[in-house]
Point group: C2
Chain length 312, copies 2
């Protein structure tokens, strides 16, 4: 099968760690160019300083993956759609929900494929958990999501600026698993956000959720960004029949009553590009605003407390 030419816009950590190597070994895509404001070339590929330049110089490329931070994402995706490109968007999709809704409408109006990725959803253990909860129901969910901002966003001050989400940037990965596995809609009931005295976004977040049923399951999440002792990306679940599920390592491992049942190597981005190829083949979009909406709800509902100042 002929490979589809794709360009990556925004060459940062996630592009280098995932998109470039995964496209490199894909039999469905071929990396044809990149856009990098700093003009740093990847291998022998053409590199452009702006998307406009890419679209002008290589109009034959009709697919782009947008891997910038969320700040400029809305206008970059609009620009791509206006240029007739199909678009894959990294998470989180945009800084605001109005931007997200606008892109969904804009993509539809132009008949182009828009693919909003939530990489943590692309794991067998997540899918298996979803099936189990659909069958057995759920009594409780406890999300525990702790990592080091210094390790995962070294020196990236945008995560601490208004609109940068803070620890909710990794936390939205947990929410994307949570909304995927739950058999019913969930709502933010209360939230507490601890914000460093010298920053604008939270370093620690506790959220209590509820369902539409007053006697529904107990649901909560804790995100923390100062965990220097490895990553804790765990979701502990009691099913309606009393089985204990533990979804670990960011959704790649599933244990049931202490026994490992799924432990696939993480191939999230391989799956994402397989899915993207499928969407392009069939001309369908895949856009899900649920995790971002839940996050916006947490921001709107949050009690704020002051935390220690944060410095790199």
């Amino acid at each position: 099968m002929d490979k589809r030419s794709i360009a990556i816009i925004g060459i940062g950590k996630i592009a280098r760690d995932q998109h470039i190597p995964v496209i490199g070994k894909s039999d469905r895509f071929e990396l044809a160019a990149t856009v990098s404001q700093r003009g740093i070339a990847e291998a022998s590929l053409p590199v452009f300083r702006s998307a406009a330049e890419l679209y002008r110089e290589m109009p034959e490329i009709d697919i782009v993956a947008i891997c910038t931070p969320p700040g400029p994402r809305h206008l970059l995706v609009r620009e791509a759609l206006d240029a007739g490109k199909h678009v894959l968007m990294e998470k989180p999709p945009t800084q605001t929900l109005s931007e997200f809704e606008d892109l969904v409408r804009h993509g539809e109006a132009r008949g182009l494929v828009l693919f909003q990725t939530w990489h943590s959803q692309y794991n067998d253990a997540v899918e298996r958990t979803r099936e189990i909860l659909a069958e057995e129901g759920v009594r409780s969910v406890r999300i525990d999501w702790r990592e080091s901002v210094r390790k995962w966003h070294p020196g990236q001050d945008w995560v601490w600026a208004p609109g940068g989400f803070g620890v909710c940037d990794p936390g939205i990965n947990a929410l994307s698993i949570f909304t995927r596995i739950m058999p019913m809609p969930v709502f933010v009931e209360h939230a507490q956000m601890a914000v460093p005295a010298n920053r604008q976004t939270p370093v620690d977040v506790e959220i209590g959720f509820r369902t539409a049923d007053a006697h529904g399951p107990a649901l909560s999440a804790h995100f923390n960004w100062l965990e220097e002792d490895g990553e804790v990306w765990t979701i502990a679940i009691e099913t309606g029949t009393g089985r204990q599920l533990s979804l670990e390592r960011g959704g790649t491992v599933l244990k049931i009553d202490g026994e490992t049942r799924v432990a696939a190597p993480s191939e999230e981005y391989e799956r994402i590009y397989e899915r993207f190829a499928e969407l392009l083949d069939t001309g369908r979009s895949d856009v899900d605003g649920t995790p971002l909406r839940l996050l916006a709800d947490a921001f709107m509902m949050a009690e704020r407390v002051e935390a220690e100042p944060f410095d790199w």
Copy 2:
């Protein structure tokens, strides 16, 4: 024409100031009962302590207006829809967007009429402004929304609690006019929220908006809740042809280049109930989440600063 029987759930300031008198003189509705936790009767009407009691005792009433604060609104509307009632909801609809989306889906699934009211939209001056901007375009909009929380929410501590919106409770009225009159989608670009040191929601908010066009109009809003010298509910607009529009008194007065062009007495709730009758006649819902979404975006994007403590 026969009048439709309606019950009001939540008897507070807005029910007494608007819903009860407006239904009282309507030729399309007749107030048949109320639900009030405190059990305070209105005139000679039956009063119930809970919606469940109302639905059990007077099953023939199939229309309810929900006028509680937004906190319990989601579950009250769900309960009403589950009981087969058509529902009118006061603004703001819910505390969160996920709750709002859930109600929209739930109403649709049950084939019931759900009417999300934004009372400030129901003015001739707003409609006339919308028409002018659709025709002439817009160069700038400046929203100035100042009132006294002590006058409008006397002693209502829920407005200062997480999820209570603070000055965004009246501010969302301005946003509901703004999203109604603008000929294109708008997005929050930046926001600053000043929160009293002893409270959790903002007393003063400044928001900068943008459109999808990098060279689009200049759009901003200022909300303040400590204005003791009367209300300032004004939107100043320069149209694309340079005309100066001033939408004043909460959207009831329109001046063009200094000359008063529309100055209708406020009949917002009369219009709301006319519109509700029309929706019930035709079986259609009217739900618009745009103002709430824009507000959630402002909360997510906001820089927070500390303001003087607030006490009643």
